[in-house]
């Protein structure tokens, strides 16, 4: 690559980063206006605005100004009334409620109208036709119940003209078994889940695409060759995934299959992995669905300080959709801050994992 070309590309990336930043600030203003206006906003933020001493619609001009609202508190989403989160604009719409994993006490819940559909329609655009052919059917082998994944994967399949099969998995029961040291019972439950998946895969030949979690993928691959049975694309997520698992999956579990790691949660939506590059040592680097969601990495000791590129920080999520305004929520995860890239010209997070200080108190199970 010539120096001039490299400079052009660099400028191009810089320009993209600047444009993304500008779009983010515009989006912040639009969302703040929506959530703090009585005709569209939800009771929670409208009540809160009354005590702020300023009008966020005037004072918040961009992402940086969100700090004026402080931090979104973990307890706000735990317990009711859930309708305080429903924007007035959606009061006549059918509303879903989704819950987080529930591995740390009472689960957090959020309302949802179309967010999950929008997120997964966008995600669908990133999937390859070869790995995830349109019109092919899906198997969703992962946490169902009150989680948004259950409906989201089905919507993804439908968006791509497919039909989605399901196997139920209750991750909270798995966590109970793990906490109680009932390893054999957990294995029995895992076998029960995997046996159901095998039955579906063996009799429904049109299934080409799979959603599953890392541990269930390992368990499934012990019983069957997914390539031989015709799986061409795997969308994998639901729990933390490290570079070693990524490599193991590509090299040994499902070589040749289009393997797409993702990070997502009920609160933020879906973050996409950096396109696979063999020279990248299988690093897992996620980029959130900007500007609808952002991940900022902050110093856990001084959460006002954003860490530098390559440094480790605590995940601070911000969700900015018409359905949920969740500014600056400190998550239980940590990661290294990753540079923007051409396809995702905003900050990413590398090697996402549980916060070190929490490692002992949280159980992350098969799911």
């Amino acid at each position: 690559m010539g120096q001039a070309q490299a400079a052009t590309e660099l400028q191009s990336l810089e320009a993209r980063v600047a444009a993304a930043r500008q779009r983010l600030d515009e989006h912040v203003r639009e969302m703040v206006h929506w959530h703090f206006s009585p005709e569209t906003g939800c009771p929670f933020w409208l009540e809160r605005a009354a005590g702020l001493g300023f009008d966020p619609r005037v004072e918040i001009a961009g992402y940086g100004d969100l700090r004026k609202l402080g931090y979104f508190q973990d307890g706000w989403l735990r317990g009711g009334p859930v309708r305080r989160w429903l924007p007035k604009a959606y009061e006549n719409e059918p509303v879903y409620v989704f819950e987080t994993g529930g591995s740390t006490g009472v689960p957090k819940c959020r309302i949802n109208v179309r967010d999950f559909e929008i997120d997964y329609e966008q995600f669908s655009l990133s999937l390859s036709e070869k790995g995830f052919p349109k019109g092919s059917d899906w198997l969703m082998l992962g946490p169902t119940g009150p989680r948004r994944l259950r409906l989201a994967v089905e919507h993804l399949a439908q968006t791509r003209g497919g039909i989605c099969f399901f196997v139920d998995l209750d991750p909270r029961w798995v966590n109970v078994l793990l906490r109680q040291g009932k390893h054999q019972e957990m294995e029995a439950y895992k076998s029960h889940v995997i046996d159901q998946a095998l039955k579906i895969l063996r009799v429904h030949e049109g299934i080409r695409c799979l959603f599953t979690t890392p541990k269930l993928l390992e368990a499934l691959c012990e019983k069957i060759s997914l390539t031989k049975i015709g799986i061409s694309g795997i969308f994998c997520g639901g729990t933390e995934m490290d570079a070693q698992f990524h490599r193991f999956a590509r090299e040994e579990l499902v070589p040749g299959v289009d393997f797409v790691p993702t990070y997502g949660n009920t609160l933020m939506g879906l973050a996409l992995n950096k396109p696979f590059d063999r020279d990248d040592d299988y690093a897992i680097t996620y980029y959130p669905a900007h500007p609808r969601a952002l991940i900022e990495l902050v110093d856990p000791e001084d959460t006002e300080r954003t860490v530098g590129y390559g440094e480790t920080g605590q995940v601070m999520l911000t969700t900015l959709t018409k359905e949920l305004f969740m500014p600056r929520f400190l998550e239980r995860d940590e990661a290294e801050r990753a540079e923007p890239i051409e396809v995702y010209p905003w900050d990413g997070v590398r090697d996402l994992r549980l916060l070190k200080s929490l490692e002992e108190s949280v159980t992350v199970g098969v799911y």
Partner: protein, 476 residues
């Protein structure tokens, strides 16, 4: 930087997930170690039958000879370590640096492993009660006019191993000449010894496929315990508890080993002071076979004071001091927490720390960048006291006074009991006592074990089951 890889049936695999092994004195990294993900272990264990066939193709007698060669090369040889080699001196220095065990004790433990390997023929003789090893080669045989057949119960022996003392690794060594490959999960600070043993075996001619070596977190280690038809697991109650009801798994939990005095012998306790002191403090007091209790029918306080005076002479020294007897804690905060726990337990009436008075110094000591706990002797009037049956990772002992008639009901599970008595009735009761695993009659140290005797179960009986078998010629 030294990198200790995973061994996937003898083949090195360098993981993208690694942990650092640090010198406990400086915090500087000594090496990094590849960590296996659970799926990788599960996948390998799915292929173990073929590895077992490779190992079984070698005759038992030849495998015993391999053990003999491995013994020498383990202690004397340069052996592969990742992409480099490791000399015996480097092994001792690295082991000491990351575990806190003084080099002098590391050498002694290394000798234990040499001995277990070089005397493997005798070890197997003891474990099998003298069965000809050709019976295992052929699957059956005739000995002293009887037809014998033994059925192997597992394609691999899993082992979730501890950090506390390298000598413990001698327990799983007989699996190899018994033709059972190993799936080893080393302790997080002590991969050195199992890795070096595997390399010693391979360099002595053992099929490399006999060794799976999987450093990993506890979650991934459960794959070994779930998938191997026979496993051993070492650790505290929290680690071993969930597996207690599983007959496929041999539990090596807290030992709570004890010395018991009969009423007939307690007056001569001073003659046995050295046996008591060595039982408590040898090997840094780190083994499950170290005594953590001395139970006596009378003169308890006097014995406790005598033992306190003796053990208070043991002082922490630098890890490379030839006279060092105490092991440092790899995590200093653990030493402080443990000492605080003992102090809190002492607030319950009925127990007193007698070493504190004799020594006049704090229990926690910091020397040469290392944190130690000095030997501690507790005088316990009440056998129900929380310290009466406690076991900690340093020379710690409670002297408990309880009548001879009640003692066997009170001691609870005891890995090794040394009974100092000639009272025949008491000996009869001791022989019938199900709380005691290994019984020593007479003034023997609790930590003296012979390799031809079972330790927390007989490995041969664990790995093989005698089956009914008959054969007649196809044609007359």
């Amino acid at each position: 930087m030294i990198h200790i890889p995973i061994l996937r049936w003898g083949e090195a695999y360098y993981s993208l997930k690694r942990s650092a092994l640090r010198d406990i004195r400086t915090g500087e990294p000594v090496a990094e170690m590849s960590l296996a993900n659970g799926g990788l272990i599960g996948r390998d264990l799915g292929q173990v039958a073929e590895c077992q066939r490779r190992l079984a193709a070698v005759g038992c007698e030849e495998l015993v000879e391999i053990c003999g060669r491995a013994a020498e090369v383990f202690v004397e040889g340069e052996l592969p370590l990742g992409e480099g080699v490791q000399s015996p001196q480097e092994y001792i220095a690295q082991l000491s640096a990351t575990t806190g065990m003084p080099q002098s004790l590391c050498r002694r433990n290394s000798e234990k492993i040499r001995l277990a390997l070089s005397e493997m023929g005798g070890v197997l003789d003891g474990l099998t009660r003298g069965i000809s090893l050709s019976v295992l080669d052929a699957g059956w045989g005739t000995q002293e006019g009887r037809t014998l057949s033994y059925l192997r119960q597992a394609d691999a022996l899993g082992a979730v191993l501890p950090n506390n003392s390298p000598g413990v690794h001698s327990l799983w060594l007989p699996a190899i000449p018994l033709k059972v490959p190993l799936a080893l999960k080393p302790g997080s600070e002590e991969p050195w010894t199992p890795y070096r043993i595997a390399q010693a075996f391979i360099s002595a001619g053992c099929p490399p496929e006999a060794f799976g070596f999987y450093p990993c977190d506890y979650g991934a280690a459960t794959q070994i315990l779930l998938r191997c038809e026979r496993s051993m697991v070492f650790g505290g109650e929290a680690t071993v508890g969930p597996w207690r009801a599983d007959p496929r798994i041999e539990i090596h939990g807290p030992g709570r080993s004890k010395i018991l005095f009969g009423a007939d012998s307690v007056d001569e306790w001073e003659e046995h002071l050295e046996v008591m002191a060595a039982s408590v403090a040898e090997n840094g007091g780190r083994s499950c076979i170290n005594a953590s209790g001395v139970w006596v029918p009378s003169r308890g306080r006097e014995i406790a004071e005598g033992l306190a005076r003796r053990l208070a002479q043991i002082e922490p020294r630098a890890l490379d001091d030839a006279n060092a007897e105490l092991a440092a804690f790899s995590k200093p905060e653990l030493a402080h927490r443990l000492s605080e726990l003992i102090d809190r337990q002492l607030k319950t009436p009925g127990a007193e720390d007698l070493t504190a008075k004799v020594r006049g110094t704090a229990r926690v000591a910091e020397i040469g960048g290392c944190t130690f706990l000095r030997p501690t002797v507790i005088w316990c009037e009440d056998p129900q006291h929380p310290l009466a049956n406690a076991e900690y990772l340093f020379p710690f002992v409670s002297v408990v006074e309880v009548g001879q008639r009640q003692v066997l009901e009170a001691i609870g599970p005891t890995l090794v009991a040394t009974a100092i008595t000639e009272d025949e009735l008491f000996i009869e009761e001791l022989l019938a006592c199900t709380s005691v695993d290994r019984l020593n009659l007479g003034p023997m140290q609790t930590n003296r074990i012979s390799r031809d005797q079972p330790h927390e179960g007989n490995l041969f009986e664990f790995l093989y089951r005698q089956r009914a078998f008959a054969t007649i010629p196809m044609r007359a």
